[in-house]
């Protein structure tokens, strides 16, 4: 069942106050790191924990920190990515608005580890309330001496800036986010150089997801080995899953990695809405390939989901029941990605637009023979050929929808209406 670590005090409305946070043992990990550990030891501990990037890519955080060149004299920056925009995902938001000090503490420890004296938390523009909570937490931390000059008398200085975005999905992608912080248009940068080498203001920069950084205080308090003891061999620790769709109890659930998907959907989520059947599951946020009902026992960890043909992604599980037209789902998704494409590279910019026009014409009942093949071909021309992963994100669910529900797509074109019969369907 649930393993509440990051979310232990999430339901305590006073957790946002620093006194409550302190009474729950808050900032102990920071104190321990600053007073008892050297930065490489912190990195070592995080490496040992095996915690992987919770934003979607799943790259080991400690390894990423190690990419900062040792001999670069420029200042270093930490950026906490709170631009949570992947449809279906709402886990960082909860952490920021209900346990903001956990995020601040994680950022502070991580900054210390990588040698940064200036950390940014980039929060998506629509998250006005979480941004307010984070600002309040940062302010309180300054007041109590957990941020600022000479933290806890250790001589370590750290400033923290809460930066809100303008509401672009692309700014969740790290290089676009760095452009945005610099005041530029949110557009992805070419890599290399990677941010760890030349990121914010061309200085070494580490960008980590909110959830990743929030796990750091627990790793420091309890040790990397303790964290690594949870989860599977390669997917360590716990992860927040945002369950949404046609289930009885949608919401955020913190699970040990490797927990079966059926536990999340049926036990915690209370199963499907009464009288309805499971049709498909998008397991890792809207950009991941879909799963079919017979795959419900797949384990929720990076490796098992990859084996099942999908991805763990950001941990947003979207459950779809039998009333739902898969073309409608695809149209809804491609509309989002077309709207959010930054406009930099050709395949994503023009490809998503074309895909949206094609899919929505099928959904409207105006599809033509050959449209499916055309969509597949366009997806092939986008996949892996764009500057940043937005292009891949846009086509993955469409490709998998056609692969898994091809008959439904064909029916839609031939019969100019939905195969499913429900009040949602296009008749």
């Amino acid at each position: 069942m649930e393993k509440k670590i990051l979310t232990k005090y999430i339901d305590d409305p006073n957790q946002v106050n620093i006194d409550t946070y302190l009474s729950h043992g808050g900032y102990k990990a920071l104190e321990k790191a600053l007073k008892e550990m050297k930065p490489p030891e912190v990195i070592e501990e995080v490496k040992k924990s095996g915690v992987r990037g919770r934003g979607g890519a799943g790259f080991p955080a400690g390894v990423k920190w190690g990419f900062i060149p040792k001999d670069n004299p420029k200042p270093r920056y930490l950026v906490c990515n709170g631009d949570e925009s992947e449809p279906g995902t709402c886990k960082d938001r909860v952490l920021m608005e209900s346990d903001p000090h956990g995020v601040v503490e994680g950022m502070a420890i991580s900054s210390y580890a990588i040698g940064s004296h200036l950390a940014f938390i980039y929060i998506r523009g629509e998250f006005a309330y979480p941004a307010r909570m984070m600002e309040k937490a940062v302010e309180e931390a300054y007041e109590k001496g957990y941020l600022g000059k000479n933290i806890l008398g250790t001589g370590y200085d750290l400033d923290m800036i809460v930066h809100t975005g303008g509401g672009a999905y692309i700014c969740g992608e790290e290089s676009s986010q760095l452009n945005s912080i610099e005041g530029e248009r949110g557009m992805s940068r070419m890599r290399p150089p990677f941010p760890a080498v030349a990121g914010l203001y061309a200085c070494p920069t580490i960008v980590n997801n909110v959830e990743t950084l929030a796990a750091v205080p627990f790793i420091i308090n309890n040790g990397g080995d303790w964290y690594a003891s949870m989860g599977t061999e390669k997917s360590n620790g716990t992860k927040l899953f945002s369950l949404s769709g046609h289930v009885k109890n949608p919401g955020n659930y913190e699970l040990e990695l490797g927990t079966p998907l059926s536990v999340l959907i049926n036990d915690l989520g209370g199963g499907m809405l009464d009288g309805h059947k499971l049709k498909a599951i998008i397991p890792g946020g809207s950009s991941t390939p879909m799963l079919l009902p017979d795959q419900i026992d797949v384990k929720l960890d990076y490796e098992s989901l990859a084996e099942a043909g999908s991805m763990l992604g950001s941990g947003a599980v979207i459950v779809i029941d039998e009333r739902t037209c898969m073309i409608w789902v695809a149209e809804r998704l491609i509309h989002f990605y077309r709207h959010e494409s930054c406009g930099k590279c050709t395949p994503c910019r023009d490809g998503t637009g074309w895909l949206e026009q094609l899919i929505s014409r099928i959904e409207r009942g105006e599809g033509k023979p050959g449209d499916i093949e055309k969509i597949e071909s366009l997806c092939g021309n986008i996949m892996g050929r764009t500057v940043c992963p937005l292009g891949d994100a846009a086509v993955m669910p469409i490709e998998s929808s056609i692969k898994l529900f091809r008959d439904e797509w064909e029916y839609h074109i031939q019969n100019k209406k939905c195969m499913v019969k429900s009040e949602f369907a296009f008749k």
């Binding site: 672009a168 248009r185 557009m187 070419m190 290399p192 077309r338 709207h339 959010e340 494409s341 930054c342 406009g343 930099k344 590279c345 050709t346 395949p347 910019r349 023009d350 490809g351 998503t352 637009g353 074309w354 026009q357 033509k368 055309k374 021309n381 996949m383 892996g384 050929r385 764009t386 500057v387």
Partner: protein, 842 residues
């Protein structure tokens, strides 16, 4: 397999290639002649990887890679034309063409469009896109959705393929913020921020680098199809940077000028003056026949009549009063052949040294200015600015004076980590990039330079052996004194001294305010001291930049009355005789004419009435001449006073050369035949000489060896000595307290460019630039008219409030014929001072 650390071996399409580490796959392929198509790539911009047309297949890579942004790796195996690559390219073209209007028949880019060419090459003749094309609509009544985004630039968003080259160049190379991308995804558009326009000096480059017809300029639009033009290699005739141009012509008309990339000089960027300056020769009001003054009128005449009259008059003066009673002034914007022929005509035929080219200068020295000429003859390379870790600019608003040197300075700072320090009497645009731009009290540069020298000595920052001796000779100068006079704090002077001493490679650049200052000889001395103390002669370069396209040529070809021993020796060698009289500099010529000692002047391409300080004196001088011959391309205030006016051809009409500020001679070719009956200056001079029965040449080629000899770089004359010259403060009339600077307007260079419609669309009238503080004090706003009055003249000018002026200096712009600001300038005063009275519009 890599043979050493710096070279990487790889295979491209089966061919082995070895390239330096850090090279991109694209560049490596091009180095062995394999062409990979690009849209968003530009040799001088950082790769963006936006268009994706340059895909290649790299062994072991999961996906197609963009070659423009992928660095070569050891033993990489690259395919540039595999089936997968060709499919990828076609897919990109298909995407780009989806919403492209395909309005090629009416698009000015047709025939030279990258999109057209690549579509042709890859045979994409059909589209699977069966929806209505998206159209960016600005104006329902417009067919082609044109939007003017600058005085010269029209944007058609529908044609745009969003390669972002314009936005990137504008920001990264030119440092401008007036163009960006708006909206998102497939409705992204290139536009200016609200209320702004693309009006920088470099705006034309954005049109040139646009791969499609999304950005066009009014200059070229709808005038001609590119395949009906021929190209001619040319060189810019305006400032001394010497950008290489391509002229595009058809029959007797030039249609546009574009950059002909020369990495030593311009790196493929030209300023708008160079780009639109070709419009001057194309103007309707060119002089096409000689004119002879009869009574009050100048009436058209034949060349025979005009030349007969000139020969007769010159012969009479020469025979009766001597050749020294004729003065000669030629423009440094003219070519080397003409400058040399002019000098030869005066020295060999008239046996006189009365030749000058410096109409834009103040009170000219009556003897050779040795220190100054020594400094100006030092080698200076624009490309070497990049090698410097410190760029030290003295008295120069680089953007206005040397737009391309300015870009190189920008590049050194933004891409090569150089730092910039500037000493200017006014804040400049380039100074915005400076670590410290010291805006000193005008007139105080000499004191400031002396202070810097003292600071170097006092802080023990010099290895120069005679430093203590110099210190003694500079003894009345202290840092405190320099600080008091210049208004720059002692600490800043000291830290600048430290920076100069510690720099490893310095480019010292001095500009127009210094070169045209009355006390330039003193300033040159102070700079020499500074260079000796800080070792700059050994660790960098000193560029005292000459102003006009051929100023450097004029100096080297000795078109000056007072020459150094070396130059005289050189002339004696090639001509075997040299006039032993003391020549007159321009200022002396005017004064001699007023004293009726000079009978005649022969002026070519110079509008003295608008250029030389103290217009009233100039007028008197010219009017008192018995016989004035002026050759020019159009009627000017000066030709109006002439007894004979001769029609002059412009640089697009004949073949010759300019010598740029580095001393590099660059040949330009004739694009069209001379307009009307005009002739190149060297031919006019030779015809006059023929009239005197002594032709200078049969064939112009005869002069080339002489020119080559004179233009040879001086052998290293690094034998500098210190010279302490004391700073003397200039007395001023308390009634006129506001210092006045006079310079070229950003989009104008010389008095001709008013004739270019494009350049006038940026700015067409003179104005007075004042600081916001002064505007408040005077209670004037933008556009208010003020009377600017100096001790010798007054003029009304509209006010423009400038962010670059933060002291009480005001700046006026020369060469607008309706507002001749030279009437305010005093010949003998180093700093002009004025008072302002509000006329209207408070």
């Amino acid at each position: 397999m890599s043979d050493d650390n710096n070279n990487i071996n790889l295979t491209i399409d089966g061919q082995q290639v070895s390239v330096p580490r850090g090279t991109t796959v694209l560049e490596a392929a091009r180095s062995i002649g394999i062409e990979i198509p690009t849209f968003c790539w530009h040799p001088k911009l950082k790769p963006a990887g936006a268009c994706r047309i340059c895909y290649v297949e790299i062994e072991k890579a999961r996906t197609l890679m963009v070659s423009c942004a992928t660095e070569v790796g050891p033993d990489m195996v690259v395919q540039t034309a595999s089936e997968k690559v060709l499919q990828g390219r076609k897919a990109v073209l298909e995407f780009i063409l989806m919403n492209h209007p395909l309005d090629c028949p009416t698009c000015d880019k047709g025939g030279e469009c990258d999109l057209q060419n690549l579509t042709f090459k890859h045979g994409v003749d059909d589209s699977r896109f069966d929806f209505k094309k998206y159209r960016h609509i600005r104006d329902k009544n417009s067919t082609f959705d044109d939007l003017r985004i600058g005085p010269e630039i029209i944007r058609n968003q529908n044609r745009c393929i969003l390669c972002y080259k314009c936005v990137r160049a504008n920001k990264d190379i030119f440092g401008e913020q007036d163009l960006g991308a708006y909206q998102r995804g497939n409705i992204t558009e290139i536009n200016t921020p609200p209320g702004e326009q693309v009006d920088s000096l470099y705006s034309g480059n954005l049109v040139e680098i646009c791969p499609v017809g999304a950005l066009t300029n009014t200059d070229w639009r709808y005038k001609i199809r590119v395949w009906n033009t021929q190209t001619v290699d040319s060189v810019c005739s305006y400032c001394a940077d010497g950008c290489n141009l391509t002229l595009w012509k058809n029959k007797q008309k030039v249609y546009r000028a574009t950059s002909r990339r020369n990495d030593n000089i311009d790196e493929g960027w030209i300023c708008d003056v160079g780009r639109y300056g070709y419009q001057v020769p194309m103007t309707e009001d060119r002089l096409t026949t000689p004119l002879i003054k009869k009574g009050d009128a100048q009436v058209p005449a034949t060349w025979e009549e005009a030349l007969g009259l000139i020969s007769e008059k010159f012969k009479k003066i020469k025979d009766e009063r001597g050749g020294v009673c004729i003065g000669g002034l030629i423009s440094p914007n003219l070519d080397s052949l003409s400058l040399h022929t002019f000098s030869k005509f005066f020295r060999k035929i008239l046996n006189s040294n009365n030749v000058d080219f410096r109409a834009g200068y103040k009170m000219l020295p009556e003897k050779s200015d040795d220190l100054y000429s020594k400094l100006t003859s030092l080698p200076f390379k624009i490309a070497d600015i990049e090698k410097s870790d410190l760029i030290f600019v003295l008295d120069s608003d680089l953007t206005k004076e040397h737009p391309i040197v300015n870009l190189r300075v920008r590049k050194a700072i933004t891409q090569k980590n150089a730092s910039l320090f500037a000493l200017n009497p006014i804040a400049t645009q380039t100074g915005g990039l400076a670590t410290d731009e010291m805006v000193y009290n005008i007139g105080a540069l000499h004191a400031l330079l002396n202070g810097l020298c003292v600071s170097l000595i006092d802080q023990n920052l010099t290895q120069y052996e005679n430093a203590s001796d110099l210190k003694n000779r500079l003894s009345p100068n202290t840092i405190e004194k320099a600080s008091n006079i210049s208004g720059i704090e002692v600490a800043r002077i000291n830290s600048l001294a430290k920076v100069i001493a510690e720099a490893k490679n310095i480019s010292l650049i001095a500009g127009e305010l210094l070169t045209s200052a009355i006390n330039r000889e003193e300033l040159a001395g102070a700079i020499i001291n500074l260079c000796l103390l800080a070792g700059i002669f050994d660790k960098g370069q000193v560029g005292v930049l000459s102003q006009a396209a051929n100023s450097k040529g004029a100096e080297k070809l000795a078109v000056m009355p007072h020459l150094s021993e070396r130059s005289i020796l050189k002339l004696k060698q090639i001509w075997d005789n040299y006039p032993d009289n003391d020549g007159l500099a321009l200022d002396q010529m005017i004064r001699s004419s007023i004293k009726e000692e000079l009978d005649s002047m022969f002026i070519i391409g110079s509008n003295l009435m608008l250029e030389y300080p103290d217009g009233a004196v100039v007028k008197e001088g010219l009017e008192k001449l018995d016989f004035l011959v002026v050759a020019d391309i159009c009627e000017t205030e000066t030709t109006q006073l002439a007894d004979v006016v001769l029609p002059l051809s412009t640089w697009v009409e004949y073949e010759s050369s300019f010598v740029n500020l580095e001393g590099v001679e660059q040949k330009f070719n004739a694009a069209i035949k001379p307009i009307g009956f005009s002739l190149p200056a060297y031919q006019i001079i030779n015809k006059i000489s023929q009239g005197l029965k002594t032709p200078l040449f049969e064939m112009i080629d005869e002069l080339i060896p002489e020119i080559k000899t004179l233009l040879q770089p001086d052998e290293n004359q690094n034998s500098f000595e210190t010279c302490a010259i004391e700073y003397i403060e200039e007395k001023q009339n308390p009634e006129f307290e506001i210092p006045l600077l006079v310079s070229n307007e950003l989009h104008h260079f010389g008095y001709y460019t008013e004739k270019s419609n494009s350049l006038s669309s940026f700015c067409s009238e003179a104005f007075l630039e004042i600081s916001p503080g002064l505007a408040e004090k005077l209670d004037v706003k933008e556009g208010s008219i003020v009377r600017v009055e100096s001790e010798i003249g007054k003029i009304n000018l509209p006010v423009k409030i400038s962010e670059y002026i933060d002291n009480d200096v005001v700046r006026a712009y020369r060469n607008f014929s309706a507002s001749p600001v030279n009437i305010l300038q005093m010949r003998k005063r180093n700093v002009d001072r004025v008072k302002l009275t509000v006329v209207e519009g408070t």
